[in-house]
Amino acid sequence: MKKLGFLFLILLCFQSIVFSQDATTLLNKVKAKINLVNDYTATGKMKTDITFIKAPIGKVTVYFKKPNKFKLKKENGISILPKGGVSINIGAIINVEDFDIIDSGEEIIDNTITRKIILLPKNETNDVALSTMYIDAEKLLVKKVVTTTKENGTYQILISYGNYSQYGLPDKVVFGFNTKDYKMPKGITMEFDDEGKKEMREKMKNKKGKVEIMYNTYIINKGINDAIFN
């Protein structure tokens, strides 16, 4: 009985240590974990879910190199990513500098208790106005990021982990964002017939967009030629 009580006490202490750790320290730990990866080449599938874009699911190859080089290539195809989409890269999300950090408590994301940390840029010229991260403090994994930018609005990134969680690399990234109106002049499209498009216009009132990347494999720290990022 005494042993059980002692174990409970240890667990309680451990939990309190974890939860009371400074947000900056937590962020640094996550950074350190992510920074174990110098580069990676990942393959996967990308799904674009934007009301005014009819795009197929396509195979993609993603290249990353520290500190923030990121390239997504669609196999023999065309990739359409929202501006600011570089943040689909987890390294770019976490390797932020010159931010004030505010610990904003806890929140449950995907049945996991996460620490909510708000990042405020010190530099007024920074495009990011505010960024909120939800970090699984136990596994040192970023589960969700909500970023408000000056130029490209607010976007949200939901991240799921699997086989590569020890490197902090996701299995799935869902990038949600608000879209602007899309309307092309008829002189450019050379389409003068608008009949039958009412349904499409109705549907387009939903201005939320989503890009999902499902990763299958990673090749980590094997070196990547810089020319790929050009």
């Binding site: 879910d49 795009a55 197929p56 990513l81 608008d194």
Partner: protein
């Protein structure tokens, strides 16, 4: 009948005027291809400017399929005028040189005569489209390679995977063949009423221009007659390049967004052909041939 068609084809392809259309298509195609080869990136940036405000687009936008689509958009508006040069000359040309009466002294019926002439016109029209397909599609693929096709519509964007495109071009060219044969039928019909070629050729071109303007203007009055104008349906080939999506907003490979519209347009166009040729035969049978 086969001999009659051969004779008509011989006459068509012996006229220098016939090759104007082939040369014009070749010249326009090569000029556009050259322009896009040199300044394709600038063109893509201009066309995609609105989309690029919000999105980063990466990949080979200017490829053979895209170039062919641009060419078809530009040329299929003008090809009817080239077809009119021959179709509107088919009967009036004979009348002009005084061979019509002579031809009808031969032991062939007037119906056979008209049908043979019209089939020859159709063969010329299809040959022109095959020429356009060779230069516009195959040569573009040879020069620019293949890739996904990114198309901008008025209200949305369509991205087609490269393995889901070639059959759409096949469908689009087959549709265009019917559409252009309709134009040929108009010219052919008008050639019945003149004894020189200029009149029917200009009349056919005028009808195409006027009807195209009516088809493209979005005014309630014109909207009433639009469905019955053949020019409204000439551009329906574009429907082959619109794809269906499922509830998850994923494109369904091999699908067409609005197949009913294609069928409707084909029905209207084929009805035009049948009606125009039937009237031509009817009038020609009763016509007093004096030239």
């Amino acid at each position: 009948m086969f001999t009659l068609i051969q004779i008509e084809l011989y006459k068509i392809f012996n006229r220098p005027r016939t090759y104007i259309a082939f040369i014009a298509i070749a010249a326009l195609t090569i000029i556009v291809q050259l322009g896009l080869k040199v300044d394709g990136k600038e063109y893509a940036d201009f066309v995609m400017a609105d989309l690029k405000n919000t999105f980063s687009i990466d990949g080979k936008i200017i490829n053979g399929y895209f170039v062919c689509y641009v060419l078809l958009q530009l040329l299929l508006v003008h090809v009817p005028l080239l077809i009119a040069l021959i179709a509107a000359d088919m009967i009036s040309g004979e009348a002009n040189i005084g061979t019509l009466r002579l031809l009808l002294t031969k032991p062939i019926s007037r119906v056979q005569f008209i049908i043979a002439k019209f089939i020859a016109t159709c063969i010329y029209t299809v040959a022109l489209l095959i020429w356009l397909a060779i230069l516009g599609l195959l040569l573009s693929i040879f020069i620019f390679g293949t890739g996904d096709l990114l198309l901008l519509k008025n209200n949305y964007v369509v991205q087609l995977q490269q393995n889901d495109i070639f059959w759409r071009y096949t469908g689009a060219f087959l549709f265009a063949a019917i559409a252009m044969i309709t134009v040929a039928a108009v010219g052919f019909f008008l050639s019945l009423f003149a004894e020189n070629s200029i009149g029917p050729i200009v009349a056919t071109m005028s009808i195409i221009i006027v009807c195209t303007i009516l088809s493209t203007m979005s005014l309630p009055l014109f909207n009433l007659i639009k469905p019955y104008l053949f020019t409204t349906h000439l551009v329906t080939w574009k429907e082959f390049f619109d794809i269906k999506i499922n509830n998850q907003n994923e494109t369904i490979a091999g699908s067409i967004q609005n197949p009913a519209k294609i069928i409707n347009s084909l029905t209207v166009l084929i009805a035009h052909i049948i009606i125009l040729i039937s009237i031509t035969i009817f009038i020609f049978k009763k016509k007093d041939i004096l030239s």
